[in-house]
């Protein structure tokens, strides 16, 4: 399917941003799905671990560490930075 704009991936999101997962690559799809990171999930990027380490993302109440190479296979669409109800301290 041709795309007008380059696809945004989870790996490219800035820290603090929230996005909706739109598609996940086949290779890591099942592993990510089991952690709740499938199409339709809302993710928040909490931090990038040092030395090019994994991304720390919030999915619902849970926090996941996702290797950058894996995060690059997760396509996202940025959404309004509304805080989930149980994270009231986040602006």
């Amino acid at each position: 399917m041709p795309r007008a704009h380059p696809v945004l991936t989870l790996a490219e999101l800035p820290v603090g941003s929230t996005a909706l997962v739109t598609a996940v690559g086949a290779e890591h799809g099942p592993a990510l799905a089991r952690e709740g990171l499938g199409p339709g999930a809302t993710v928040t990027v909490d931090a990038h671990a040092p030395f090019g380490g994994p991304l720390l993302v919030g999915v619902g109440r849970a926090r996941l560490a996702v290797a950058r190479s894996v995060a690059a296979t997760v396509e996202v669409a940025p959404s309004a930075p509304a805080a989930p109800p149980d994270r009231p301290f986040r602006p």
Binding site: E35, A65, A67, P88
Partner: protein, 670 residues
């Protein structure tokens, strides 16, 4: 996997075999082991880090009211039925091997959307399920309320709020599960037809796919005997045989085969249902939990996470060294004062031949004192520190921080745990590599573990070099050993086929550790260490005693002289000490001195009289890196088989000899 053999054979008249079986299933970190401990009145090994319960374990539990007794089977924490939490086998295989009559799914009451997919997958198997909405206290503290009645309606299964930490609701959930399990048992005994009787929850297209897959099972090959799970290999994934044996419904088997297809739709249903049954209060009650959340975030951020990690790691080592050192001194001197004289007199009275008596004393006195003054103080202290870190949930934060560094040697950040343990004793550290996902990772980590100086070898490095060449040189020796260890890891990462799986890991939430759990876990691991390492250490000591007392060590010197004298530039006695330190690593130095005194006379009690500081440097590096001790070798063999154990040991020997020869030339020894 031995758990499936623990069940007594079904003899019909027996009681244990007739008991219904309830399987405990849940995601990692949901407090399943604490729940089990409450349910069975004993503390299981719990841990606030993914995957501490690696093997299925069953316990006989009794219900408080009429539900009666049952086997409660604890299984590893898993994210889905298709996951492989114990390495090779998919979870559903572990689960069905236990032939459960009902499944008690432990879920997080405060994060239902995340836990419902596993509940739905269990429900799809066609076995009765009961949901324990656990951690209800944490959920309430965060202002999450659950409409358990509505959830039970949706699931067509009982739902019970529980708090594993103080036991609230646990007995009721268990009663319910035992009741359903017993009912299924009775129904099967009367050969009643099985049915799931639950409404379809997925979109029509997916339901049709499940139905088509299920029909393929209904028409598949001849039925296979109920107990021949081993024959399941005939149909590739074994699902056909399970359906034929009655352990699984055709629809259940279909949902297992379509696990990857169903995962997404299940999360969809989970999000929808969670919205229906969860109510969130938004008043300011949730202050404490957000503080914990913020702390968790800080612990993985580069600042202040990294400095904090360094402080925690150093503090752990320092506490182990200080408390361990103090305990070692107390226990060692108590042993020397009270037990040694008695043992010496006793053995010499019972065994009149002095040579045999001395050999026995090597084992009984020398071997036991090593256990008392090295094993107990350092290993037990380290286990306590490790259990504390694990139970607090901090270990996964540390694993994330160090992940990238460990990637250099093909390991994930979790490998920090066994490597830290290795500086205490290699034996438990090799068991500790079970936290890693693949055999490849475990082999690489085990090589690094065996090259990491344990407390006994560290003591040898310090004692040999510090008095003669100064503490700086001892530190340099540790530096060389560390470089060789990293080099070994890089080498192993290239040589062992396969590649590292990419990291997707749920972080454990930070929780206040429960002291009884911490102590129980440390003690159960320590028992394992004593059981596995102690007999080998004692046997090694006795063998060494016999070889030494009978003079059989000396002919070996001639054989190894080209290598020791020619390549390493060391005196023959040093070569002997290197060879026989395999039996007692912590004696690598005493052995050297003892042998030297025999060969060169009493003056050789001072190392400096027959070895230069440079020779000692070569000696401690080779002694520290080469071939693990006999207890470590036995542990490697038990975990990976003899071929792998010998290959790992051979690699360390090759690295040690290679590096030793090069060092000898650089330092001008040869």
């Amino acid at each position: 996997m031995t758990a499936c053999h623990q069940r007594p054979p079904g003899t019909g008249g027996g009681t244990a075999a007739d008991l219904p079986v309830v399987a405990l299933v849940g995601r990692p970190n949901v407090g399943k082991s604490t729940f089990l401990a409450r349910a069975s009145g004993r503390f299981a090994e719990t841990g606030n880090a993914p995957g501490t319960t690696l093997f299925a374990e069953r316990r006989r539990v009794g219900s408080r009211n009429r539900a009666g007794e049952a086997w409660l089977v604890d299984l590893p924490g898993t994210t889905s039925l298709a996951d492989r939490p114990a390495g090779t086998e998919p979870f559903w295989r572990l689960l069905l091997a236990e032939r459960p009559d009902a499944i008690l799914v432990v879920a997080d009451a405060g994060d239902l959307a995340r836990h419902l997919p596993l509940i739905l997958a269990c429900r799809d198997l066609g076995l009765p399920i009961v949901v324990a909405a656990n951690l209800a206290d944490e959920a309430a503290a965060r202002g999450v309320e659950l409409d358990t009645g509505r959830l039970a309606q949706l699931l067509v299964a009982p739902v019970q709020l529980t708090v594993g930490r103080d036991g609230r609701g646990v007995a009721r959930a268990l009663d319910e599960a035992i009741r359903l399990a017993r009912r299924r048992r009775d129904a099967l005994a009367g050969a009643s037809p099985r049915g799931t009787g639950r409404a379809a929850i997925h979109p029509a297209a997916i339901e049709l796919r499940i139905e088509a897959e299920a029909r393929s099972f209904a028409t598949a090959g001849p039925p296979i005997g109920a107990r021949s799970l081993g024959a399941a290999a005939i149909d590739e994934d074994g699902l056909g045989a399970l359906v034929a044996s009655g352990a699984l419904s055709a629809r259940g088997a279909a949902t297992l085969r379509l696990a990857d297809v169903l995962e997404g739709p299940r999360w969809e249903v989970a999000r929808r249902w969670a919205d229906q049954v969860e109510r969130r209060r938004t008043d300011g009650e949730s202050g404490t939990s957000t503080k914990v959340d913020r702390l968790a975030r800080l612990s993985t951020a580069p600042w202040p996470g990294l400095p904090l990690f360094v402080v925690v790691a150093l503090a752990s080592l320092l506490v182990t060294m200080l408390v361990g050192g103090w305990l070692a001194a107390v226990l060692g001197s108590a042993w020397t004062a009270a037990v040694s004289p008695l043992l010496t007199v006793g053995v010499h009275t019972l065994v009149p031949q002095p040579a045999i008596a001395s050999a026995l004393l090597w084992g009984l006195d020398g071997g036991l004192i090593a256990l008392v003054s090295v094993g107990i103080p350092y290993v037990l202290t380290f286990y306590l520190v490790l259990a504390l870190l694990e139970d607090s949930g901090y270990l996964t934060s540390a694993a994330v921080l160090t992940d990238r560094l460990f990637n250099l040697v093909g390991l994930p950040g979790r490998a920090a745990i066994p490597l830290l343990a290795a500086s205490g004793c290699n034996v438990p550290a090799i068991y500790g590599t079970r936290v890693l996902a693949t055999r490849r990772e475990r082999l690489i980590a085990s090589l690094l573990v065996t090259m990491t100086p344990c407390s006994a070898r560290s003591a040898v490095v310090v004692a040999a070099l510090a008095p003669i060449a100064g503490p700086g040189v001892a530190l340099a020796a540790f530096g060389v050993i560390a470089l060789l260890t990293i080099g070994g890891g890089v080498l192993a990462n290239r040589m062992i086929p396969g590649r590292q799986p990419a990291l997707v890991l749920e972080l454990a939430p930070l929780r206040r550790p429960l002291l009884p759990h911490v102590v129980a876990k440390a003690w159960s691991r320590f028992e394992g260490f004593v059981r596995s390492a102690a007999p080998v250490m004692l046997a090694g000591s006795i063998v060494l005693g016999i070889l030494y007392e009978t003079g059989l060590v000396w002919p070996v010197a001639v054989v190894i002289d080209p290598l020791v004298g020619g390549w390493l530039g060391l005196p023959a006695v040093a070569g002997l000490a290197l060879v026989f330190a395999f039996l007692r690593k912590e004696l690598a130095l005493q052995l050297l001195v003892a042998l030297a005194v025999v060969q060169y006379g009493a003056a050789a009690a001072n190392l400096a009289t027959f070895m230069t500081p440079a020779q000692l440097f070569v000696y401690v590096v080779v002694a520290s890196v080469s071939v693990p001790c006999v207890a470590t070798l036995a542990t490697l063999a038990a975990e990976f088989g003899w071929r792998a154990a010998l290959a790992l040991s051979g690699t360390t020997l090759a690295i040690a000899l290679g590096a030793g020869g090069i060092l000898a030339r650089l330092l001008g020894v040869v």
